[in-house]
């Protein structure tokens, strides 16, 4: 669809959405009033900037169903995100919400060439987490066969992968690494013993370096998937070109704002993503500050799709650690580690405060073949990692080399940061 028409369509959806919310949603009605904006003030797509923001805290404050626009009888499903930092957040879905969520994933899967000939192992958690059921519906919608294996029971998952000629897997990057390690111990070679060709990976931050590692280990082509629980779940992926994540324009409108000034940034400029779900029914998500940092790309993709793309999420402002006043993203640490061939796939970041000073320790597993009997060689490796960290992050980081297999493995979302600081 030509870009002008996309914008017209988005404006029509926005107008309808705002009018409906002003009439039927007490929360957003009050928010708009407080901001001094009426539905009649929205006369073009750019007028979206007049609308008030929504925040994660709103979802918590109005837990469980106070944000809902529809009667509970119209709600067909709930998903709940873990409340790691306070109250959980609840997302309700109408039948239509499930419908466009499934559409988004069906389009995404099609864009990476998954269709009726494929068998897709969904190794995301099923249940309150959106990953499992979301992908499940998407896979079914494109006519592929779904193997709803969920997380855990890795040896059995590997057996099923072989027995059922699984061609694609959807899981977290850390779980695929875990699977590859277990496979190695079982004498299974992904290239030789499985038909696995594609992996749809997400639900935790990962880097290009990690993608390279995973592809080298398993021989699969790995695609990034994006979506958050508040949006409804994983929705959008990269296409075959893997030059950004295509966002379906009829479903989501993306603004990129300068995190300091709130100014709208041009395509290509990195900033804070603010999303509007244009077709959301059960409850609104308008100008939601999702806290992910990225930039938008509007040039036409080589795959031919005209939908805008967002760049791989470089960090979530919530994941950002402030160490001695310097902003550090765990993804930056991973980036540095993945450049060093002796480094294994597992690492942990431990932040503490000693004598009123922040400290950051990166524990990293080294590959068994990189182990040397010479202490000085091992110390040189440690020093090299510390030097690279300092160069890239601008803060002193202590590196601890760990035996392969000694750091925690994650079957769900990886939790690689332990912040022990008490304020």
């Amino acid at each position: 669809m030509p870009k002008d028409e996309i914008k017209k369509m988005q404006y029509a959806s926005l107008k309808k959405l705002v009018e409906n919310l002003y009439q039927n949603n007490q929360f957003y009605h009050d928010r708009m009033k407080a901001q001094g904006v009426l539905p009649s003030d929205i006369n073009c797509l750019a007028d979206i900037q007049k609308l008030p923001f929504m925040y994660k805290q709103d979802l918590r404050d109005f837990y469980p169903t106070k944000l809902f626009t529809v009667p509970n009888t119209d709600v067909v499903r709930y998903h709940v995100s873990s409340g790691t930092t306070g109250k959980p957040t609840l997302v309700g879905y109408t039948q239509n919400d499930i419908g466009y969520w499934t559409d988004a994933l069906a389009r995404s899967l099609t864009s990476i060439g998954i269709g009726k000939d494929d068998v897709v192992q969904v190794s995301y958690g099923y249940g309150l987490f959106t990953g499992g059921l979301g992908l499940h519906y998407g896979v079914e919608a494109v006519g592929a066969t779904v193997l709803p294996s969920g997380t855990g029971g890795t040896e059995r998952q590997l057996e099923l992968m072989q027995d059922l000629d699984v061609t694609a897997i959807a899981c977290t990057p850390s779980y695929l690494i875990h699977m590859a390690n277990v496979a190695q111990k079982m004498g299974i070679d992904f290239r030789r013993d499985t038909k696995l060709k594609k992996a749809i990976l997400g639900a935790e931050p990962w880097t290009e370096g990690m993608r390279q590692r995973i592809e080298d280990m398993t021989g699969v082509k790995a695609y990034d998937v994006y979506g958050t629980s508040e949006m409804g779940g994983p929705m959008f992926t990269e296409c075959e070109e893997r030059k950004g994540i295509h966002i379906s324009s009829d479903i989501m409108y993306v603004e990129i704002l300068d995190p300091e000034t709130g100014e709208v940034l041009e395509p290509g400029q990195k900033g804070e993503m603010v999303v509007t779900l244009l077709r959301k029914e059960a409850f609104p998500l308008i100008r939601y500050k999702i806290k992910d940092l990225t930039c938008i790309m509007e040039d036409e993709c080589e795959c031919g799709r005209t939908s805008p793309r967002i760049e791989r999420i470089s960090g979530r402002s919530d994941d950002m650690l402030i160490i001695r006043g310097i902003n550090v993203f765990p993804s930056q640490v991973e980036h540095v580690l993945m450049q060093v061939p002796q480094v294994g796939d597992q690492y942990m970041i431990i932040v503490d405060r000693v004598n009123d000073l922040d400290t950051m320790v990166v524990q990293v597993e080294i590959k068994p073949e990189a182990f040397s009997d010479k202490i000085e060689e091992m110390v040189a490796l440690k020093k090299r990692l510390e030097y690279e960290m300092k160069k890239y992050l601008n803060i002193a980081v202590a590196v601890e080399l760990k035996e392969s297999g000694s750091l925690p493995r994650f079957e769900g979302k990886a939790k690689r940061v332990i912040d022990k600081r008490v304020y």
Binding site: K185, M378, V399, E400, E403
Partner: protein, 139 residues
């Protein structure tokens, strides 16, 4: 006279990890004749002389223990002053660098294991100076 094969095992430097490694050695029936531990911040290396080093290395690898084989030489000594000097002098004069060493007392009396940069040349140099080295069978 030949080089001795030593096990070098990576150990995390934290409470319980040495217990974990030694439990594995016990379960695999691996007897240590001599060992030493070198440590750096965060990790250590357990260096050990075992009965069948090649077999022990494979067994430990199967248990996901990070282990390597390293060549060392064993020099028998008498229990009196000046013995280590005799050996160190030969190494110094032959320009052989000692990376580390540790002592042991076996059936043939005391001996010192040396890790040097070139074990073959070191054995030759000791031989030329009239000094013995031990074979694995002597330990």
């Amino acid at each position: 006279m030949s080089v001795i094969t030593q096990l070098s095992i990576f150990v995390n430097n934290e409470p319980g990890s040495f217990a974990g490694i030694t439990a594995a050695l016990k379960e695999c029936g691996i007897n240590l004749k001599a060992f030493n531990i070198a440590e750096s911040s965060g990790f250590g290396v357990l260096r050990a002389i075992a009965d069948n080093p090649n077999e022990a290395c494979e067994t430990l690898k199967k248990r996901n223990i990070v282990v390597k084989l390293t060549d060392v030489i064993a020099v028998p000594m008498e229990d009196k002053p000046g013995e280590i000097y005799k050996v160190a002098k030969v190494f110094g004069e032959s320009n052989i660098n000692i990376e580390y060493a540790y002592a042991y007392a076996g059936p043939k009396g005391p001996a010192v294991f040396f890790r040097v940069d070139n074990p073959e040349i070191a054995i030759e140099a000791l031989k030329a100076a009239g000094l013995e080295t031990l074979d694995a069978a002597d330990l």
